[in-house]
Symmetry: C2
Subunit: 389 residues, 2 copies
């Protein structure tokens, strides 16, 4: 396997884009990435496209990538279509990475795009989001926010985490989002605003919960040896890519160590680093307070110590390990197929020193964690990438 | 890249399975492949799952592979979900092959499964089959059979092919299908029956057209070095995998040479063989008479010579290069996600001398051609694999 670089990234700002089709959204991200990389369309040899709801949202399956790309100036490239729930963007990235790492192709494009917001038809979006349609829609009526509320309630009892800790993650993430032109939500919230917003599922108040948005992200990868041919920018290297899944466990006997931890260990080992070496991380906080559990699972701290990191400011923009500088899933936004590539773009910008007011000084090593869950799996697909300048 | 072997294949007989879910269907094919390969479930490290209509047919997207596999005894394996219209089965195969060829994993499973037949709701199936939903459903009303009828009419005028030639392909393929326990249609038809069946789209009569069915296929791949650890059967090697696509061309200016030809040339070159070296081939005859054009495009003969091969018996079971010994897409059946793995199983059985009454004597080199089209692309995804004993 050869070393791979990310030489260009692009995003359509995440948010509501009811006037745009999947193709319009993808085109913006792709051409931003092409310009950023200094390549021409001709240089791109293969495309991996991540999308996971177009069948149910716009009625397009089977060759969704080709349809999304058809007016994009990339005709004739082999297209791999992929999906893995909330991990779909990372799935497209891993696919493109493997094409280049294996030597199959020299230059690959990863694209993730999702439309989730249907004006006037929230029920259809919600229905499409059921990842195990049989269980969630027909049998249990179980939905994500309720699922995470139960987990967080147990976490409070076991480790003494408080609702204030949870709200302080939101304060941090909304502050970061307020500095990010690509974020869906750009208003910094106070602790009081978060705590006083209406209760959705105890202990989760409204501002701790995700909202729906559309978006697109793209990345261009090539072998490290070729990177300098295309771009004068600092070369961001892919140090490792790890990919894991849990077993199906409908009664909730989760793996210990958690699958995220096994995946992180694999990513650290392959990259030859430890969690203390990281300068910045984007993690998959499906509901915002879950970030505390992710700190533990990704080994940023020990078991039960998640709250400590938010209390002492470690993961704030000015802390030792800033987490979700983009705002994270709920604030930057989480349009499923696009999310992983949005996270990747943020880490690439941080490592190149291009993150503007949310720049982490001298960031050299970053993590992207993207994960797709589903009722019955603690993770149906977990991806962790370590990137370095 | 290292050499890869296919050590096990399995199929659920293609046909109508209204009583079975995607998971039930996949399980049969997967466990047949596991037993055939001599591996245990534990040996399987990664799974690529191909399915392309579950969103529209059963309402399941996002993590369809994990849902399909959840009761299959393969919990905890990373799952890659993929789709590429009629080429979806080959897409899963190529993905699994790249995992092993690159050294990422040692043993990989490729699964393809599709439900197309919904009792009492053919309209829903047809609607789901529109690969470019916007163009086909909303604007042109254009459908596959009409599209192929136009192509074949032009082929008759240009090269003197006759309706009798087209019907004789059906006679050959239904004869092969009558010998295949995995085929959807098992009745050998006479020339008269084919010619006298009702006209669907001139020159295509009913028996020249595809029908809808369900099915599943699976294959287990490992590095050639490891194959003998698992199985005493002849080792089938993957000599080459080629993957191409045409540009989007809504007005029908197709590439010349055709994308299939470029893909075949790549497959031949990587395998170090020529078309004359092949002993058996499975090709993607979306409507049966298209097989004649495929002979040309895959370089089994020169331009305009397709009819010659059916007239002189070259591609019959007892000919020099038997084509579609399984019966092909329309007779063995074409459940989109499963088809490529059904083709692969047939070629593996032929190369191992296990094809029973349809065995090609001493077959050593075989081709699998699988392709997903869509209105506006001559092929949205073409895959060609060369296999050898």
């Amino acid at each position: 396997m050869r070393d791979v670089a990310v030489i260009g990234v692009g995003m359509l700002p995440f948010g509501k884009h009811p006037d745009k089709g999947l193709d319009d959204m993808a085109r913006v991200a792709i051409w931003d990435a092409i310009r950023d990389a200094g390549v021409t369309a001709k240089d791109i040899q293969v495309v991996h496209v991540g999308n996971c709801l177009a069948g149910l949202i716009v009625g397009q399956e089977a060759v969704r990538g080709q349809i999304i790309l058809k007016d994009c100036g990339l005709g004739g490239r082999p297209v791999v279509n992929t999906e893995n729930a909330c991990g779909t963007g990372a799935a497209a990235f891993r696919g493109a990475w493997l094409e280049v790492a294996s030597g199959m192709y020299d230059v690959a494009l990863a694209v993730g795009v999702e439309k989730m917001f249907i004006p006037g038809n929230t029920a259809r979006s919600i229905r499409a989001l059921a990842t195990c349609s049989e269980l969630e829609l027909s049998r249990t009526g179980f939905q994500y926010v309720a699922y995470y509320a139960m987990r967080l309630r147990a976490y409070m009892e076991e480790y003494g985490a408080t609702v204030t800790d949870f709200a302080n993650v939101v304060v941090k993430d909304t502050y970061n989002g307020s500095l990010n032109p690509y974020a869906h939500h750009k208003k910094a919230l106070t602790l009081e605003e978060v705590l006083n917003s209406r209760m959705v599922a105890d202990p989760l108040t409204l501002y701790m919960c995700p909202s729906m948005c559309d978006g697109a992200g793209a990345a261009i990868l090539c072998s490290v040896d070729m990177a300098k041919r295309f771009t004068a920018k600092p070369v961001v290297k892919v140090k490792s890519v790890a990919f894991r899944a849990s077993k199906f466990s409908p009664h909730g006997e989760w793996d210990d160590p958690h699958t995220f931890t096994l995946c992180a260990d694999e990513a650290y080992e392959k990259a030859g680093i430890g969690p203390k070496d990281l300068d910045v991380a984007e993690v998959a906080d499906a509901v915002i307070p879950m970030e505390l559990l992710l700190y533990e699972r990704l080994r940023f701290c020990g078991k039960g110590e998640g709250s400590k990191l938010i209390r002492d400011g470690t993961t704030r923009l000015d802390g030792r390990l800033p987490v979700n500088t983009s705002g994270g899933f709920s604030i930057r936004g989480h349009p499923l197929g696009a999310t992983g590539l949005g996270e990747l773009a943020e880490v690439v910008w941080q490592l190149r020193g291009e993150a503007g007011p949310r720049q982490v000084p001298n960031a050299k090593l970053g993590m992207v964690h993207d994960s797709g869950g589903v009722v019955g799996y603690d993770t149906a697909a977990c991806y962790i990438m370590i990137l370095s300048r």
